[in-house]
């Protein structure tokens, strides 16, 4: 089963081989409220861990989505352009943002696992 890891900024990355699917957690979408727009990077763009990867906007807020790990953008979820609400409805599934080809799998170790993240969210 694919493993999902989380950042403190509430991005998740689901690992499948040497690529990871990046999105925002269910907690994050709840905090943001109705998502109205998602700005995605160009395919091929090199991202550094912690660097700005995308922007997600609700009516009254705009938040940067940071790259959980370094790597190259190999695919973006073009469906979000027409249906940004998918981020609210299915953040872990159809509401994914982008796929990234991992540069250094070791970077994953600094991220939280499922249980650790859920405990982290409880402290907020």
């Amino acid at each position: 089963m694919a493993e999902t890891r989380y950042t403190k900024d509430h991005e998740y990355i689901r690992i499948e081989g040497d690529t990871g699917t990046v999105g925002i957690s269910d907690y994050a979408q709840g905090q943001l409220g109705d998502v109205v727009f998602v700005e995605l990077p160009a395919v091929g763009k090199a991202l550094a861990k912690g660097g700005e990867a995308a922007v997600v906007e609700s009516v009254k807020a705009a938040s940067e989505v940071y790259a959980p790990v370094s790597g190259e953008v190999v695919e973006v979820n073009a469906e979000l352009e027409a249906a940004p609400g998918t981020v609210n409805e299915d953040p872990a599934g159809k509401g994914w943002f982008l796929k990234i080809k991992l540069k250094d799998a070791a970077e994953l170790e600094s991220l939280m696992g499922e249980e650790e993240y859920q405990n982290y969210v409880k402290t907020l």
């Binding site: 109205v36 727009f37 700005e39 906007e57 609700s58 009516v59 009254k60 807020a61 705009a62």
Partner: protein
């Protein structure tokens, strides 16, 4: 003081309720010695009658446009504004309301903003328009910054036909942001070679039509070349009435259109407040500056309007906002939109026709004056003449005779060697007598 409802008894009661001995106790955070004790060295409260007298005295020292034959333009124009406009914009609910942050009790403002945006889009031939900028010049500065964001380049090319104040505003902003600006030399004959300036480093080309000298410019070839190099065309106008007679910039594939809207609904006001018009292709909407009003529905499904796409703006995006603009030109927008509603396209195109006809009549008459050469091949309601004497001097002499003849180019560009050029505007307010007076005075002076 007539504007202050509290009585001294109220004040005492309120201080007691707060639990402080005197008003200065509430100013206890003002550092020691910095709290002023006595009123400052300025006059004391005055009654309405006295204030009105003082202001009227200052006003009376100025020559009002309506009082004389008047041909001054170059970015601001004397037009007739229907009485309905000024009456309506002074209704309390418009005049004393705020930016519509609470849409349930601001549908009046929001609906006229939506109407305004629709009108501007139609007039310019563009897909979307915002709810206004401060004026045409600051709007032009914002358009250049927007083009930089869209293209991710930082070099603007400005036509020599752009109003010199607009050029200065763009240069000032760009110098501050360390962006590049290539401003072409003032171009009276509209023959500058702007195309050769466009290459892959250019973010945008800024061209005004009618230009500051009154010439109509062909924007299409500039748009084509700009687009071939990944740059944007920013089309500018200072006389919105021209759009009733000439091909709109949208039909010439402009990417961003900026204009001064003062001519419709707004008085000359010695330069402000005015209203900046700002329109663009809809694909650039998220890079637009300023407020946008959008349609939606309420909880009962009834149509209503709200400010939208606010995440572009400073109050949400802070240092990543598309602009720092907050307060814009609300009431001037209302004046514009009411006047435009009264005109409709039928009245607006007729108004444009009268303006053009009056300017043509004047140009024809001036062409017969020795010492005057009309330089324009094309124009709308404004053109440039070459005089055999320095234009500033001629204007002063004519002003002393009670005629306001136009804008000497040297007023805008003091060291450009264009001292013999005069920019003359003629709108619907000019009568045959006005024109005859100007022609006769010029014959006498030259």
């Amino acid at each position: 003081m007539r504007y202050l409802p509290l009585t001294d008894t109220d004040r005492e009661d309120m201080l007691a309720r707060i639990g402080v001995p005197d008003i200065d106790a509430l100013f206890s955070d003002v550092p020691g010695g910095k709290l002023l004790k006595a009123p400052l060295d300025l006059p004391r409260t005055k009654g309405e009658l006295e204030v009105e007298r003082i202001m009227a005295r200052m006003s009376a020292k100025n020559t009002a446009a309506s009082a004389v034959p008047f041909f001054v333009g170059a970015g601001a124009y004397k037009h007739h504004v229907p009485a309905t406009v000024d009456h309506l914009i002074q209704r309390s609910e418009f005049l004393t309301s705020y930016t519509p942050y609470q849409p349930e009790i601001a549908q009046g403002t929001l609906q006229y903003l939506f109407e305004f945006q629709t009108q501007i889009a139609a007039l310019t031939g563009m897909e979307v328009a915002n709810a206004s900028m401060y004026d045409g010049s600051t709007g032009t500065g914002e358009a250049v910054l927007m083009a930089h964001r869209v293209t991710r380049r930082r070099k603007a090319v400005l036509s020599g036909g752009l109003h010199p104040h607009y050029t200065e505003v763009v240069k000032t902003l760009s110098e501050m942001a360390n962006d590049d600006v290539v401003a072409l030399k003032a171009d009276v004959s509209a023959s500058e070679d702007i195309l050769s300036q466009i290459d892959d480093s250019v973010s945008c080309v800024v061209v005004q039509s009618p230009d500051v000298f009154g010439n109509l410019r062909d924007l299409k070839p500039i748009a084509e070349k700009a687009h071939a190099h990944g740059a944007l065309l920013i089309a500018v106008f200072t006389e919105v009435v021209s759009l009733g007679a000439v091909t709109p910039p949208g039909a010439q594939d402009a990417d961003i259109v900026v204009g001064e809207g003062q001519s419709i609904g707004n008085a000359l006001n010695f330069g402000g407040p005015y209203v900046g018009l700002f329109a663009a292709k809809s694909k650039y909407i998220r890079q637009m500056p300023g407020r946008l009003c959008g349609e939606t529905v309420d909880a009962d499904g009834q149509r209503g309007f709200v400010l939208t796409l606010s995440t572009r703006e400073q109050h949400i995006r802070r240092d990543k906002a598309t602009s720092n603009i907050c307060t814009n030109s609300g009431l001037c927008v209302l004046a514009f939109t009411i006047h435009m509603t009264l005109l409709g396209q039928a009245g607006f195109t007729l108004l444009a026709e009268v303006n053009h006809a009056n300017a043509v009549k004047l140009a024809d008459a001036l062409a017969g004056v020795t010492g005057v050469t009309v330089l324009n091949e094309t124009f709308f309601n404004e053109f440039t003449v070459k005089l055999k004497k320095p234009a500033a001097e001629v204007v002063e002499v004519l002003a002393a005779k009670g005629i306001l003849a136009g804008v000497p180019v040297s007023r805008l560009l003091p060291h450009a060697g264009l001292d013999d050029l005069l920019i003359i505007a003629s709108t619907e307010v000019n009568t045959d007598e006005d024109r005859a007076a100007l022609v006769a005075a010029l014959v006498e002076v030259l």
